[in-house]
C-alpha cells in the first residue's frame, strides 16, 4: 500500500501547512466579503499543486466502506446511503508522475443522506 501518514518526514511539514490552509479557507468562507481573500488562498493552493500536493475537500461526496481514503465517524443510526457531511481534515495527495499517493487521509463525519 502506498499510503503514507502525516508523520512521514518527507511530507509532514507541507501537510501541516495544507491543514492550516484548509482551516483558513473554511474560516474565510464564513466571513462576509471574504471572496477577495479566497483568490489569494487559491493562488497558494495552485503553487502547492505545482509542487505535486493537492488538497481535496470530500464534503458532500457519497461514502461507503470501500473508501479507505477517509477516516469516517458515522453519525446517526443508519449505515446506508451515507454522505460526507463534515470534513475535519482534508484529503491530501502527492502526485508522482501520472499516479499519486495519499499523504493524509481525510477525517470526516458521515450520515445517512435520507436523515438530512
Amino acid at each position: 500500500m502506498r499510503t503514507t501518514s502525516a508523520g512521514d518526514s518527507a511530507h509532514s511539514g507541507i501537510v501541516t501547512i495544507l491543514n492550516q490552509l484548509f482551516a483558513l479557507e473554511n474560516k474565510v468562507n464564513k466571513l462576509v466579503g471574504g471572496e477577495a481573500l479566497l483568490r489569494n488562498l487559491d493562488r497558494i493552493k495552485e503553487q502547492f499543486e505545482a509542487w505535486g500536493y493537492s488538497l481535496e475537500n470530500p464534503s458532500g461526496q457519497p461514502y461507503d466502506e470501500t473508501r479507505t481514503d477517509c477516516d469516517a465517524s458515522i453519525a446517526g443510526e443508519s449505515t446506508e446511503n451515507l454522505v460526507i457531511i463534515d470534513v475535519i481534515k482534508p484529503l491530501i495527495r502527492y502526485r508522482d508522475g501520472m499516479g499519486s499517493i495519499i499523504v493524509q487521509r481525510a477525517v470526516v463525519v458521515v450520515r445517512d443522506r435520507n436523515s438530512l
Partner: protein
C-alpha cells in the same frame, strides 16, 4: 508481476533508450557504464567479444572495419554489413538485436524483460516494421508492440503538460532524428489521440548533415591542400582508399555539428597521410549546407497541411523532437517557414522513449492476457472485464471465475490505499464499482484468499484504469494496402484498394469477392492463382508500389478443377504491428487458404536501380512521343520537366559504385519511386481525358443505332446508363467512366446482334475464316446458316454464328493474358 508491458524502447538510428512505466511515471534507465540516458546504436565486433554503445563507438575511429552504426536506415533491406572479424556479414536485424540485448542489461532490478513497446518511424512500411519485430524476437522478447514515434512524442508531451493546457486540438510532430525524418499530424479528441496523416523521409537525418560536412568542407580542403580526392570513389566506396577515414570523419563531423549548436565556429582535426589537418567550420557555413534539406522538411510540413485542407492557424503548435532539433537554425527556420509556433519544452532526446513507456503502461502483456494458457496451483481462472480508460469517477468491474470458489474470498485494493473492497466472498460472477482518482492512472490489486486468509494463486492479480488520461486510438497505416487484379480487357493488371492509407490498426476488411480469370486444373503442373498484396498508392500501376507478399493457391492444393469465373472470397486483416493476413475461400471447392505476411527485407541493388531509372526514362520518352502526336503541349511540358529530374537521378545513380556503403542508393530508390508516381499522375490525368473521348464516342454510336433500330426497352436502358452523367464526367471519374463505357458497349452490341445486316456480315466473315477447320459439322452449320439467311430466320442465324465461333481453333481467337488469375 505486472500485467502490463511497462517497458518502452526507442530504437533510434543514432541513439537508443529504454524506460519503464512505474506507478504513473516514467523512469529512464541509465547506461550503467556511462550513466547516460542514451546509448549509441553502434555495435563493434572485437576478436572475441561484441561491444555495444559508447564502448563500440570508441573503436569506430581506430577500427572502423569492425564497427557498425546507423543500421536502422537499412532495416528491412537485404543490405548487410561486412565485418572484418566476423566470417558472415551482419544484417541490420542482427545488429539491432545486439542493441536491444544491451538495453536489457540496463535494468538491474532483476526483472526479466520479455515484452516491450518499441517505437518505429511513422513512415516505416510493413517490411521495415516486421524487421524491427524480428530484431526484438532475436533479442529474446516474446511479445512486442510497435508504436509510431510521433504518437510516442505526443504522449510524452501530453503526460507532461497539465490537463488544462492539453485540450482537444491538432498539432504537428516534427521529428528529425539521426537518420529519419517524420512529420505527423496528430489530433486529440475526447481524450483519444491519433495520427491523422504523416509524411516522412526514411533517409534524412542528422547523419546526412555529417556526410554533408565531409562532402562540402573536408573533401574540398583535402583536394585543395593535399591530393585530389573524390567523395564517392575514395571515401564512400567500401574499396575506396579512404573508406576507413570516412567513418572516423563521420564521427568527428557529428561532434562538430553538436558544437555548432552552442558555438558559432568549431574545428575538425584529423590525420591525413601522416599530416595533421585542421578544418574550421562556422555556424553560418553549416547552416548553408543544411538549408536545402531543411527546406525539404518544411515542404513536407506544407504538403501535409495542404492535403488535409488546414492552414497554420488550425494547428496549436509544432512539437520538435529528435536530436537534430537541437540545431538552432532548424528551430527558427521551421517556425518561420511553417508560421506555426514551435514547442521545444520536452527533451527531444528522451521524449520518444518516455511516450513509449507511458503507452507500455497501458498495454496488457499478450502472454498473460491469454487466461487459457495460464497454469496455477488452484486451477482458478479469473476473466475480468473493465474499461481501461474512463472519464467517470467510478467504473464498473465484472469478472467471471471458473474453478472451485467455495470458501474463498477476494479483495480489490487501489495501490494508493484510497479504495478497498474488503474481503468478499468469491463467486462465479463478481461485480464491483471501483472509485477512481481523477486525472490519474489507477492501479488495482486483485487478491484471492482462503478461509484462513492465505493467498490463493489465480491468473489475475493486477489491473489498471486510467482516469481522464489521453489514450491512443490505434495507429494508422502508412500507405494504402491493395491487391493486384487482372484487367483482361486491357491485357494488364490494376490495383484494388483494400485498406486506405491512415486506416486505424488493427483493421479487418469486409469480404472481397473476385473471380478466377482463367481455369486452373487440379493437379496440373506449375499452375496457380496468385493473390498479390501490395503497399502503395492504389491509383498507381502495380509496378510502382511495394510488394508485401503473395498467397499462391497452387493447382496441386485444389481438390477439384477451378473454372474460369469461379468466385473466390478474400478477407484481409492487418494487426497493430502490421502483420498482413490474407484468407481466401473458394466456394466451388469449399476450400480455405490462409497466409500471414511478415516480410522483413527489401533489396536495392545498384545495377537494378540504374536499370529502373533507365526504363523510367524510356517510359517518359514514349509518353512524350504520344503527347507530341496528340498535340498535348501541357503534358509534353510536364514530362520534359520530369525527364530532366530523372536525368539528374540517372547521373547520380551511375556515379554509385556497386559496393557503395552509404544509404545513397536507398535515397535514390525512394526518389525514383517518387518520380515514377509523378509520371503516373501526369499520365493518368490524361487517361481520364482519353476515357471521356471514348465515352462520348460510344454514347453517340449507341444513340444513333438505337434511334435507327432500337426497341423501347433499349431506349429506356440507354437513358438509365447515361443518367447522372454530370457526376462522372465533370470531374471525370475514370472507374465510373470505364464502367459506363462497358455498359454502353454491351447495349450497343445487344442491339447490333439483332440486325440482319450485321448478322449476315458476321456470318460471311466466319465462313471466310472457316478454312481453319473444315470438319463435317462445320460444313453442316454453314449450310444451315445460308438457309437461315434465305429464310430471313435471323434468330437461328445468331445461334449458328455463336456455335461456329466456338468451333474456331483456340489460337485463332483473341488471346487475353491473365497474370494473377483473379480479376
Amino acid at each position: 508481476m505486472s500485467l502490463t508491458i511497462d517497458f518502452g524502447i526507442d530504437l533510434g538510428t543514432t541513439n537508443s533508450l529504454i524506460a519503464k512505466f512505474v506507478n504513473g511515471s516514467v523512469e529512464i534507465f541509465k547506461n550503467p557504464g556511462t550513466w547516460k540516458d542514451t546509448t549509441p546504436s553502434v555495435v563493434a565486433f572485437r576478436k572475441d567479444r561484441i561491444l555495444v554503445g559508447d564502448r563500440a563507438r570508441a573503436f569506430q575511429e581506430k577500427d572502423p572495419a569492425n564497427v557498425v552504426g546507423h543500421f536502422k536506415r537499412k532495416m528491412g533491406t537485404t543490405e548487410s554489413f561486412p565485418i572484418g572479424h566476423a566470417r558472415e556479414p551482419k544484417t541490420p536485424v542482427e545488429l539491432s538485436a545486439h542493441v536491444l540485448k544491451e538495453l536489457k542489461t540496463f535494468i538491474q532490478t532483476g526483472e526479466n524483460v520479455d515484452s516491450a513497446v518499441i517505437t518505429v518511424p511513422a513512415s516505416f512500411d510493413v517490411i521495415q516494421s516486421n524487421a524491427t519485430k524480428k530484431a526484438a524476437e532475436e533479442a529474446g522478447f516474446k511479445s512486442v508492440v510497435l508504436l509510431q514515434e510521433p504518437i510516442a512524442a505526443s504522449l510524452a508531451y501530453a503526460n507532461q503538460a497539465s490537463s488544462r493546457e492539453f485540450t482537444d486540438g491538432k498539432w504537428l510532430v516534427y521529428d528529425l532524428g539521426g537518420g529519419t525524418f517524420d512529420v505527423a499530424l496528430v489530433k486529440i479528441e475526447n481524450g483519444e489521440m491519433r495520427v491523422l496523416d504523416h509524411e516522412g523521409d526514411n533517409f534524412l537525418g542528422g547523419t546526412d548533415f555529417d556526410r554533408l560536412i565531409i562532402e562540402n568542407f573536408i573533401v574540398p580542403h583535402i583536394s585543395k591542400h593535399h591530393e585530389n580526392v573524390d567523395m564517392a570513389s575514395d571515401f564512400q566506396s567500401a574499396s575506396g582508399k579512404y573508406n576507413a577515414l570516412f567513418f572516423a570523419l563521420m564521427h568527428k563531423a557529428e561532434e562538430a555539428k553538436k558544437e555548432l549548436s552552442n558555438r558559432t565556429s568549431t574545428e575538425i582535426e584529423f590525420e591525413f597521410e601522416g599530416e595533421d589537418v585542421v578544418v574550421e567550420i562556422t555556424r553560418s557555413d553549416f547552416e548553408g549546407i543544411i538549408r536545402e534539406p531543411i527546406a525539404r522538411t518544411a515542404e513536407m510540413v506544407r504538403s501535409i497541411l495542404t492535403r488535409n485542407s488546414l492552414t497554420p492557424r488550425d494547428l496549436s503548435f509544432i512539437l520538435l523532437v529528435g536530436g537534430s532539433t537541437y540545431i538552432p537554425y532548424i528551430r527558427s527556420r521551421i517556425e518561420e517557414l511553417a508560421q506555426i509556433p514551435v514547442k521545444t519544452d520536452i527533451d527531444p532526446t528522451t521524449a520518444i522513449v518516455s511516450g513509449a513507456a507511458y503507452f507500455a503502461g497501458t498495454q496488457e502483456k499478450q502472454i498473460i492476457a491469454s487466461a487459457d494458457n495460464f497454469e496455477n496451483n488452484s486451477g482458478l481462472i479469473v476473466k475480468a472485464v473493465y474499461e481501461k480508460t474512463s472519464k467517470d469517477s467510478t467504473e464498473p468491474f465484472f469478472a467471471r471465475v471458473t474453478g472451485e470458489t467455495s470458501g474463498l474470498f477476494y479483495r480489490i485494493l487501489r495501490s494508493d490505499g484510497g479504495f478497498d473492497t474488503g474481503l468478499r466472498e468469491l463467486k462465479e460472477r463478481i461485480s464491483e464499482d471501483l472509485r477512481l482518482v481523477p486525472d490519474s492512472y489507477n492501479h488495482f490489486k486483485f487478491t484471492t484468499f482462503d478461509d484462513r486468509n492465505n493467498e490463493v494463486d489465480t491468473n489475475f492479480r493486477e489491473f489498471q484504469i486510467a482516469h481522464n488520461i489521453i489514450g491512443v486510438s490505434g495507429q494508422p497505416l502508412p500507405e494504402d494496402i491493395c491487391i493486384e487484379l487482372d484487367d483482361i480487357e486491357n491485357e494488364t493488371s490494376h490495383l484494388r484498394l483494400i485498406f486506405p492509407r491512415n486506416t486505424i490498426l488493427p483493421a479487418k476488411s469486409p469480404t472481397v469477392t473476385v473471380s478466377a480469370t482463367r481455369s486452373v486444373s487440379k493437379g496440373s503442373l506449375d499452375d496457380a492463382l496468385y493473390i498479390n498484396v501490395l503497399e502503395g498508392d492504389s491509383s498507381y500501376l502495380p509496378e510502382s508500389v511495394k510488394h508485401i507478399g503473395t498467397l499462391e493457391i497452387g493447382s496441386s492444393e485444389l481438390n477439384r478443377d477451378l473454372l474460369k469465373g469461379a468466385e473466390i472470397e478474400l478477407m484481409f486483416e492487418v494487426s497493430e504491428s502490421r502483420d498482413v493476413t490474407v484468407s481466401a475461400y473458394i466456394q466451388h471447392s469449399d476450400q480455405a487458404f490462409k497466409q500471414v505476411f511478415q516480410p522483413k527485407e527489401r533489396e536495392v541493388k545498384t545495377e537494378w536501380l540504374q536499370r529502373d531509372v533507365e526504363s523510367l526514362l524510356d517510359k517518359i520518352d514514349s509518353h512524350a512521343e504520344e503527347a507530341k502526336r496528340r498535340d498535348d503541349t501541357e503534358l509534353l511540358r510536364e514530362l520534359r520537366v520530369l525527364a530532366k529530374e530523372v536525368d539528374r537521378l540517372e547521373d547520380r545513380a551511375l556515379c554509385l559504385s556497386n559496393d557503395d556503403v552509404t544509404d545513397v542508393k536507398f535515397q535514390l530508390e525512394d526518389e525514383k519511386n517518387r518520380l515514377a508516381r509523378q509520371v503516373n499522375t501526369s499520365i493518368q490525368s490524361r487517361r481520364a481525358e482519353i476515357l471521356l473521348d471514348e465515352y462520348f464516342d460510344i454514347k453517340e454510336q449507341c444513340s444513333n443505332l438505337i434511334a435507327e433500330s432500337g426497341s423501347d426497352r433499349n431506349r429506356e436502358h440507354f437513358t438509365e446508363i447515361v443518367e447522372g452523367e454530370s457526376q462522372f464526367v465533370r470531374p471525370p471519374s475514370p472507374p465510373l467512366l470505364k464502367a459506363k463505357i462497358g455498359e454502353l458497349h454491351n447495349l450497343y452490341f445487344s442491339v447490333l446482334w439483332r440486325q440482319p445486316k450485321f448478322l449476315t456480315a458476321e456470318f460471311n466473315w466466319i465462313v471466310e475464316q472457316e478454312k481453319l477447320n473444315d470438319s463435317d459439322s462445320v460444313q453442316k452449320l454453314i449450310e444451315q446458316g445460308q438457309i437461315a439467311i434465305i429464310d430471313n430466320d435471323f434468330d437461328s442465324l445468331r445461334g449458328i454464328i455463336f456455335r461456329l465461333y466456338d468451333m474456331m481453333p483456340k489460337e485463332k481467337r483473341r488471346r487475353r493474358e491473365a497474370k494473377t488469375g483473379i480479376g
